[in-house]
Symmetry: C2
Amino acid sequence: MVTFSIQHRQDPGEARVGVLETPHGVIETPTFMPVGSLGVVKGIDPEELHRCGFGLMLSNAYHLYLRPGHALIAGQGGLHKFSGWSGAILTDSGGFQMVSLSGLCQVKEDGVEFASHLDGSRHHLTPELCIETQLALGSDIMMVLDECPPYPCSPEQARDAVHRTTRWAQRCRMASQGVSNGLFGIVQGGVDKDLRCRSARDLVDIGFDGYALGGLSLGEAKPMMFEMIETTVAELPKDRPRYLMGVGMPEDLVEGVCRGVDMFDCVLPSRHGRTGWLFTSTGRVLIKQAQYARDESPIDPHCKCTVCQRFSRAYLRHLFVSNEMLGCRLNTLHNLWYYGTLMAELRAAIQANQLQAYCSAFYAKRQRASVTRSAEGRASSDDLSQKHATVVSA
Amino acid sequence: MVTFSIQHRQDPGEARVGVLETPHGVIETPTFMPVGSLGVVKGIDPEELHRCGFGLMLSNAYHLYLRPGHALIAGQGGLHKFSGWSGAILTDSGGFQMVSLSGLCQVKEDGVEFASHLDGSRHHLTPELCIETQLALGSDIMMVLDECPPYPCSPEQARDAVHRTTRWAQRCRMASQGVSNGLFGIVQGGVDKDLRCRSARDLVDIGFDGYALGGLSLGEAKPMMFEMIETTVAELPKDRPRYLMGVGMPEDLVEGVCRGVDMFDCVLPSRHGRTGWLFTSTGRVLIKQAQYARDESPIDPHCKCTVCQRFSRAYLRHLFVSNEMLGCRLNTLHNLWYYGTLMAELRAAIQANQLQAYCSAFYAKRQRASVTRSAEGRASSDDLSQKHATVVSA
């Protein structure tokens, strides 16, 4: 059983603080889910996820179906026991990964035919098999199989994908009758407001425990993404969690929360960690830069994470330049802590009816740092804070 | 200041339990030093080294001289502060690495000319620069610059290397006058007993805080290595620590301890961890093998490490097969714990005058498992325990 209850609404606005109750723990929303496609966030121990403040991990049914196989995991007592993660698990169905990772992918009415990105073996994933896989994994929250067209796509492609996503969602709903696992629908519709509304209404008619916004952050402009969020959220029931899939940068989380999104997932904190892109309250630190070679300060002087308490930028740069595994790990740990802390701060701001003040301060810190960097001749053009400041004030 | 005192001697035999006092902690011997050439054991947090029972880490002056540079580390407050490792550090001089890693290496009387394995830049490392580097790093125990000829080598090459090692040791001793850091000499001599004796006596005449046995485990047969250990140890003062460099497998540590060795270092627990070779009380587990795909048991049911308490062989195999970084980490953590525990057990056995009984049980467990594996048709020929059982009973 997955239940959602709203604890407090920011007035005016859509932002809210809620509680998502699952068989593996209670999660306060808005929340961010770190991505552990294979049951593990790359390089990170499940205990460390808890310490970063996360109660819900995202895994991927497509990846685990292919390797080691959902039946094997079921035989090991399910994904929680197998992976050692005692928190809750949401599994993405993998519709997006089938298209993006596998070769020779063909979407048909019955399901998706694809070749494994691992060994080229042929598979046929139907909505029913998708649910069977997620049940075998023991997901707390399952996602329907959806069709996620690329961006940009033709109006016909977007429309067909919405209709097929609805039909598949209906079949997933049927296939999961009688089980207590949560099931979320996925709104598609590209960047077409009417299609987004149609998709949302169709899914609400079927009825799900929560609703995801899929097919965003695929290359469309940020204002377009925010418009789609607003349009979709307006069609969704207020008493169900809203999950913005695959998003995003810290600024995107802030903007999403302001627009009523309750859940996010993204590979950025872990992937950027591995490439040495570190998130801080004043913008990013690219740890490989020569300017950090002798920098004795921590990544972020205001950060309370285990990395910032113990290691200097100079040492982290040494690890990065030496291609040392511990560097990937420490960077990822810091970034996860940053994301966990950001969400906790957003929740506290909503509870205190201070979200607008929080957002202003959030952008002001980035803006000041950007201006300073610019004055010092550093890479200000890469800084995203100015662009986002425009968005939030629009 | 580094001091060594013997707490207990096994009688009869050479094995002893001692205490090595350094400015960064007291280390009980016999001890094993995990290898953190760059100031870090690959993928492992310094806090985890402490938890595995290690108080002394090995780093490498050659590697750190090249990158990030000893002057940079000195500017950061030394290697302890830079790396976040609060325990003691022994730095190898890197004579071995210069020959094995760098191109165009030329050993001359003044020092070693070599090309960096990183960027091909030319360097000239003298005994004096070698000490300067290790002083800059802030090593608790420095090693002299030695010449380590390959195995096999001609009698002339072995003899010349011994004489040059002695002359360089004298220069290192001179260069470190007035400093409180410990300095160890390195006995060379290949597999020639007379040369080993000569080298040991020459170094003892100069006088060091401890004596290392270099140039072993380079491909010579195990009985030959043990003979060289016995020959060398007989020439060394009983009140100084003896350090067997770059060794080795668990059986080698047991045999070394029985022969009076106090300190070991080796990349095996970390390197084998990354390749999925796991040490257990009954022999190795190669985690990639298909037989572990559904194996719900821990790596070693008798192991108390954080990995064996939480993860199954099936999950570790999944991580390994998926090339997942956490797998390298967990495997390495388990192997380090195994080595740390083995040394603690050896110390306890000596204290209790039970070393022979401990060794018998150590080999018997491996032997039984090997016989069982053999009866089951598994790879018994790879099992090393039988060979070593022969050595210890000889």
